[in-house]
């Protein structure tokens, strides 16, 4: 009898479903992938559930409700390896903008009867709650990086996920630099690669959806934006506080520009 296939579980927390959709967007590889692993729990795709434990757990979304705070502990217990996929799971995501705001005011802004809302003060990444074996960046994750990650885990090797900046990918594609040649405030120099330099490819500035690269020099890029391109500290804060705003060092830098904004 053939050895049992590794069991994979896919979980959703506070998110848009886009990262788990990237699995189904592997149209050419999907059937082979299904041949290699057993999809044991994946509510978006199947009704059947196999009981835990699972070999690999992929978690999409951030923790933003009391129920999720509890559930992530159970998910961790059920999975041998736990991988956070996407900006929400690795940084808190766009909904982490509440972390700098008054949540009660947010609730009242959106809902007529705020008393029915159960939510946490903050939206936080999975690693703020449990140990995570790997974090895959991106809003959404790149489906081929996801495939590489799963392949690496199945064969027990280190996944090949570069941590250098988008600039490297941009140069490899032979694109012109939108920052230098057009003065657009491109976050490519401080953002982790993985998207394939999509935004410069569309002639627009990178907005940092893969989060900070390894050791980014935000101070230098920020000075370029404020002193040469004429952007305000408020602009800088806004640019840094988007889909990965709550992830260091974007978080710290945005708080620095917030202080400058207030001192103006």
């Amino acid at each position: 009898m053939a050895a049992a296939k590794p069991k994979v579980a896919v979980y959703k927390f506070s998110s848009c479903d886009g990262c788990q959709l990237q699995l189904l967007n592997l149209e050419d590889e999907l059937l082979d992938l299904l041949g290699a692993v057993e999809i044991a729990y994946f509510l978006e795709a199947r009704r059947r559930e196999l009981p835990p434990p699972y070999d690999i757990g992929l978690v999409e979304g951030s923790v933003s409700t009391p129920e999720e705070e509890e559930r992530i502990l159970e998910v961790r217990r059920n999975c041998k390896y736990l991988v956070a996929i996407g900006a929400c799971a690795t940084s808190g995501g766009i909904q982490a903008l509440r972390n700098w705001a008054n949540v009660d005011e947010y609730v009242k802004c959106v809902y007529a009867k705020p008393e029915y809302i159960s939510t946490l003060e903050t939206a936080t990444p999975i690693a703020a709650h449990v140990f995570v074996d790997f974090e895959l960046r991106g809003c959404p994750v790149n489906q081929y990086q996801l495939l590489e990650l799963i392949s690496a885990m199945l064969t027990g090797r280190k996944p090949n996920i570069p941590t250098h900046s988008v600039c490297i990918e941009c140069k490899r594609r032979g694109l012109h630099c939108v920052l230098v040649s057009q003065g657009k405030p491109c976050l490519g120099p401080i953002t982790q690669a993985g998207c394939g330099a999509l935004c410069p490819g569309c002639e627009r500035a990178c907005y940092g959806c893969f989060g900070p690269m390894e050791q980014p020099n935000i101070t230098s890029l920020g000075t370029w934006f404020t002193d040469r391109l004429g952007h305000s500290p408020q602009d800088m804060k806004r640019m840094l506080r988007l889909f990965n705003g709550y992830l260091e060092p974007f978080k710290q830098a945005s708080e620095y520009y917030e202080r400058r904004e207030k001192n103006q």
Binding site: C16, D17, A45, E67, G93, K113, I117, T119, C195
Partner: protein
């Protein structure tokens, strides 16, 4: 589903499906019956609130399409299109958008309709009709159908990627148009595959019409959709219904009210007169069939003959075939657009920020997705309101469920739960889209 549980006592039964599989997002169904009569029914959403309307305030108008895209990973284009059109109105440039830009927007939307419809039809909904727990299990017996559908889904994703770099949260769209228009060469490359998929989808829709048995559940719906004069609805048009609703985009916010319902504590939308209504493929098709692409019109005619039912269709299970017809339409339309494509003189119109207010809805794969924004003089957002399709369909889904549950009350619990789930999936409820569904407290019948 495996964690469906039941409690029974004298003539009362409660079926509780804790987590509803194969919908994007998180929902649950709670059904309490007494002696075959539905006593209490709740279609619940436990999608956590993410407060988009709150944190959009103070953001620059240029950022809005990138942010609203993140409401839903399955239909990001719908959220980008709604935001762009509404903000162009707020900035007073709506009328100035070039026809070439509007055509590219339709092409982008075709891509999303194709990928979203095919995903839903074949991966999420067909298993219900054929009695499989998922497409994964369906592969053994219907491998070729699954493979063909994946190829068509990919063609849709490739169209979105052409204009936006990637299919989930594409980056090409801006208020005023596109950051960059693709070259005719990049565009033409897709043509042979679109042609293949167009022919194949025509065949698949007819195959499915013959193969699938549709449960009988006819109701008298108010179908609401955009109704442009001379094209099948996507981005433009007044909002009309089969029961006399006929309003401008700006007026829709006042006509459709979102409100809280005690039993489900979720935001539901109803028309001002209190009526429930339905948006999505069936509404669009019933109101706009005359404007379908030629190929889709041919398929529709053959489908009507096969199932022995001409339009209007009043059975929500036929949303499945409506999606198929619309996928053919989107493939046909994108074929025509690409065939006639030349590089536009500009990819976006210039915009000077101003204080204003603008509202617009477009046809997401699941139905009208309506946005309204107020802007400050510098173009930052003062207020935002987003009405997603699923919140508009909520009251109708519950009304359908009430009727279905009464019809099939004699079935064992697990089968009854399965049928109810199947019905909910008729509406392709993208629950992440329901930007403001509330946390629900469970009520169990004792």
């Amino acid at each position: 589903m495996s964690d469906a549980k039941k409690t029974s006592n004298a003539g009362t039964r409660t079926i509780h499906v804790k987590a509803l599989a194969r919908v994007e997002g998180e929902g649950a169904l709670h059904l309490s019956m007494r002696n075959g009569v539905v006593e209490d029914l709740q279609f619940k959403i436990y999608e956590p609130p993410r407060f988009y309307e709150a944190f959009l305030r103070g953001r620059g108008f240029e950022e809005v399409p990138d942010i609203t895209a993140r409401i839903c990973g399955i239909c990001p284009v719908a959220y980008q299109m709604g935001a762009c059109h509404a903000l162009e109105k707020a900035m007073g440039v709506f009328e100035q958008v070039d026809p070439a830009i509007r055509t590219l927007r339709n092409l982008l939307y075709c891509g999303e309709w194709i990928e979203s419809h095919v995903l839903h039809m074949f991966m999420l909904h067909l298993p219900d009709f054929l009695g499989y727990e998922s497409a994964i299990s369906m592969v053994q017996d219907h491998g070729p159908v699954v493979k063909r559908s994946l190829r068509i889904k990919k063609a849709g994703n490739n169209l979105v990627s052409l204009l936006g770099g990637r299919s989930v949260h594409p980056v090409g769209v801006c208020v005023g148009g596109f950051y960059r228009a693709p070259s005719p060469a990049e565009t033409a490359v897709l043509l042979p595959e679109i042609k293949f998929c167009l022919d194949d989808m025509c065949d698949l829709v007819l195959t499915l019409a013959k193969m699938v048995k549709f449960p009988q559940l006819e109701r008298d719906y108010e179908f609401v959709a955009l109704c442009p004069d001379n094209e099948y609805p996507m981005n433009l048009g007044r909002i009309k219904s089969n029961k006399g609703l006929d309003v401008d985009q700006d007026e829709f916010g006042a006509v459709a009210n979102e409100y809280q319902v005690k039993h489900s504590m979720a935001l539901h939308a109803r028309l001002k007169d209190g009526g429930t209504y339905v948006v999505g493929p069936l509404s669009r098709l019933n109101l706009n069939a005359a404007k379908l692409h030629k190929r889709a019109a041919e398929v529709l005619e053959a489908v009507c003959k096969t199932i022995g039912k001409s339009l209007p269709w009043h059975n929500s299970f036929l949303n499945f075939l409506a999606r198929g017809v619309e996928t053919v339409h989107a493939l046909g339309l994108s074929y025509d657009i690409i065939k006639n494509y030349t590089l536009p003189t500009r990819s976006r119109i210039p915009i000077t920020p101003r204080a204003g207010i603008g509202a617009h809805g477009t046809e997401a794969p699941r139905g009208i997705c309506w946005h309204e924004y107020r802007t400050e003089t510098d173009g930052t957002i003062a207020s935002a309101r987003i009405m997603p399709p699923t919140s508009q369909n909520q009251p109708t889904i519950e009304a359908d469920l009430r009727q279905l549950a009464t019809q099939i009350a004699s079935l064992p619990d697990d089968q009854l739960a399965f049928q109810c789930e199947h019905l909910i999936r008729n509406y392709d409820p993208c629950i992440s889209c329901a930007t403001h569904f509330l946390k629900v407290t469970r009520s169990e019948l004792a």
